[in-house]
Subunit: 345 residues, 2 copies
Amino acid sequence: MAMRVTIHDVATHAGVSAMTVSRVVNESPRVSDETRRRVEASIAKLGYVPNRLARGLSQRRTHAFGVIVPDVANPFFTLVVRGVEQVAWRAGYHVILCDTQGNLERERGYLEDMVAFQVAGVLIAPVGDRSRPQLRLLTRNNVPFVLIDRSIAGFDGDLVQGDSVAGARQLIEHLIELGHRRIGMITESPDVSTARDRLQGYREALERGGIELDPELVAESSTIDPDAAAEATLRLLALDEPPTAIFAVNNIAVVGVVEAARRRNLEIPDDLALVCFDDIEHVSRLYPFLTVMAQPAETYGTIATQLLLDRLSGRVGQRRRIVVLPADFIVRKSSGAPAATPASG
Amino acid sequence: MAMRVTIHDVATHAGVSAMTVSRVVNESPRVSDETRRRVEASIAKLGYVPNRLARGLSQRRTHAFGVIVPDVANPFFTLVVRGVEQVAWRAGYHVILCDTQGNLERERGYLEDMVAFQVAGVLIAPVGDRSRPQLRLLTRNNVPFVLIDRSIAGFDGDLVQGDSVAGARQLIEHLIELGHRRIGMITESPDVSTARDRLQGYREALERGGIELDPELVAESSTIDPDAAAEATLRLLALDEPPTAIFAVNNIAVVGVVEAARRRNLEIPDDLALVCFDDIEHVSRLYPFLTVMAQPAETYGTIATQLLLDRLSGRVGQRRRIVVLPADFIVRKSSGAPAATPASG
DNA sequence: CTGTTAGCGCTTTCAT
DNA sequence: ATGAAAGCGCTAACAG
C-alpha cells in the first residue's frame, strides 16, 4: 500500500525543487544537464509517474479526447475508433471511448462527462439530429469537436462525411440498369443524416430512371440491430408486389436482409438482388460477395482527429471545415451484375 | 470564452458554501430539502458540470478504467471492449481505450499512462508473456487489474480465459474423424498463451489420433495481420506433402488462410478443410460457413469488468480468481463434415 | 538555470 | 445541517 510517489518525493531525493523536476519531466530546455541527469536518476529510482489529473487540473485541460459512437461493434465505427486512437496516440493523446448504443440520453450523459473530464476535444458520430441541443454542452464549455459520418441539420461545425446522396444514387442506378423496377430500401430513422441522404439518393435515382417511388417499398429499421432489419425486410417481401432488389442503408441492415432472405429461401442475387452502403472488412476478405459502396471508415477517424488537432494547435481559423471522403463502388455478386467476377473485391 | 463554472460559482449563486454544493452533487443525505432545491436550481441555471479531474485529484482515484488490447479492430477484441464499456458505464465508470497494436513498448507506455491517469483499474489482453515485467507498474502503484483472454506464464492475478487446449483438441479431432492426416496449423507467437495452448491441443489431438506431428505443418504468423497468415498458409501449401486441412489459431489468421486458398484456386472444404478459433459475428450471420470454436467475446469483457468492480468494492479477498468461459463448437461447411447443414450457425 | 508563491476545483476533516 | 481550512499533485507566473 505504498503511497504513490509524487513530484516532491523526487525533488527531495534529487535535492532540487519540485519545479525543476517538473521541468525535467516536461522536457524544458532550461535545466542543466547535470541536474537533469540527477533528477532522471531519482525518477527512475523511485519509479515516479507524473499524476495526469494534477497536471490536467493545473493546465485546465487533459491530453485526452472523447470519442462518441452509436456502437463500437458496428464494423464501420470500430474502424473509425481505431483511426482516432492511432492518430491520438501519435499526438500524445488518449481516448475515452463512449458507446451510446444509439441512445440520446446516454449520449447526453457522455457529453457532460467529457466536459467534466476536461478533455481537449471530442469526436462524435451523433445519435441523430436530436443530438443538437445537447451538443451545446460542448460549445458552451469551449470543448472543440468534430462530427463524424453524420451531420446535424442546421448545425455547423467541423465535419467528416461521405457523399451519401451520390453513393445511394449510384447503387440504385446500378440496380435499375440491371433491370429492376421494384427496388426496396431498408433505412433507419430519418433523424440520422446519412439515412436521409441515402433515401434522397434512392429517390433521385428512381426519378431519373422514370420509376415512381412506392412508399410501401421503404421500410424503417434500427441503427444497431440487424434483427430489426430482418423484420423490415420480411415486411417488404410480404407485399403483394414484393421487391426484386433491396438497398440496405448500411452494414448492419444488410445482415438482417440476408437473414430474412434465407428465412424465405430466396437466393441472392437470383431471387433477390442486394446492394448496401459500407463494406465489412472481414466479410469481404472472406467472401467477396456483397455489392457495396465502401467507405474508408478508418480514414474518417484519422482525418477527424487531424482536424481536431489542427484546431487545438490554433493553426486554423474559426471557419468550419467539411471533409467529404470518396467511397468505392464495388460490384460483386449480390447485385446480380453479369460482369461481376467471383474473386473481385 | 466564458470561464467554466465552478463549484464556487454555484455556491455564491445559491448563497451557500462550496461544501454544500458538493454534498448536493454527491447526493449526501445531510442536506435539507430546501437548500438542496436551491442548489439544484443554481446548478441548472448556471449549467454547472463538476470537474472530474479535481474530484479525482482529491479522491486520488478516477472513475475510469483502462482497457488495453492488441487490436480493437480484431472482432474478438471489439466485442471484449464493448462488453467492458457496457458494464463500466452501468457502474458509473468510463473507459480509456488503449490499442497496443501488439507492440510491447506501446503497451508499456499505456500502462504508465494508466497509472498517471489514476484509473481505478485496468483490463488487459496483454501482448504476451513479455508483458509480465511491465505489469509490475500496476501492482507497484496499487492499480488492480484483470487479464483477459491471455494468461501470462508464471504470473498470477485475476483472469478470464477460455479453454484453448480443449478447444483446439476438439477442432483437430473433428478433422481427424473426417479422415485428415496432414493437418496444418497457422499459429502466432508462442509468447501468447492462447497460441501455446492451442498448439498444445493440436499436439494432443494428433497424439490421440496416432498421428505423428510434422513440425513443417506448423507455421507462425502475426497477431494482427491476416496477410502474414496468408503467407504462412502458402508456405504450407508449397510443401511436398501439403496439408489437406488447416487449423487457424484465430479469426485473424483464418482470413489469411481463406485468401491463400483462393490464390491457389483451392476450394474449401473440398480441396482444403478449414477450422479455426473464434467466430466473427457478421461473417457468420451473413455466411455461416466456417467451422469454429466460438468464444463468447463480449462476455469476456463483461465478466472481467465485473471481477474488477468486485475487487474495488472490497467484496472479494486477496485470492486470485480465474474464470474459464466455455466455447461453442459450431460445425459448418468449411471443415467438410457431411452432417453440416447449409443454414446452421 | 533554479526556486517561491499561488492557485487549478474539488473533497476531507473538523468545527459549529 | 452547514461551513472553514487544508490539501490532493502539479504548473503558471514571477522572482532571482
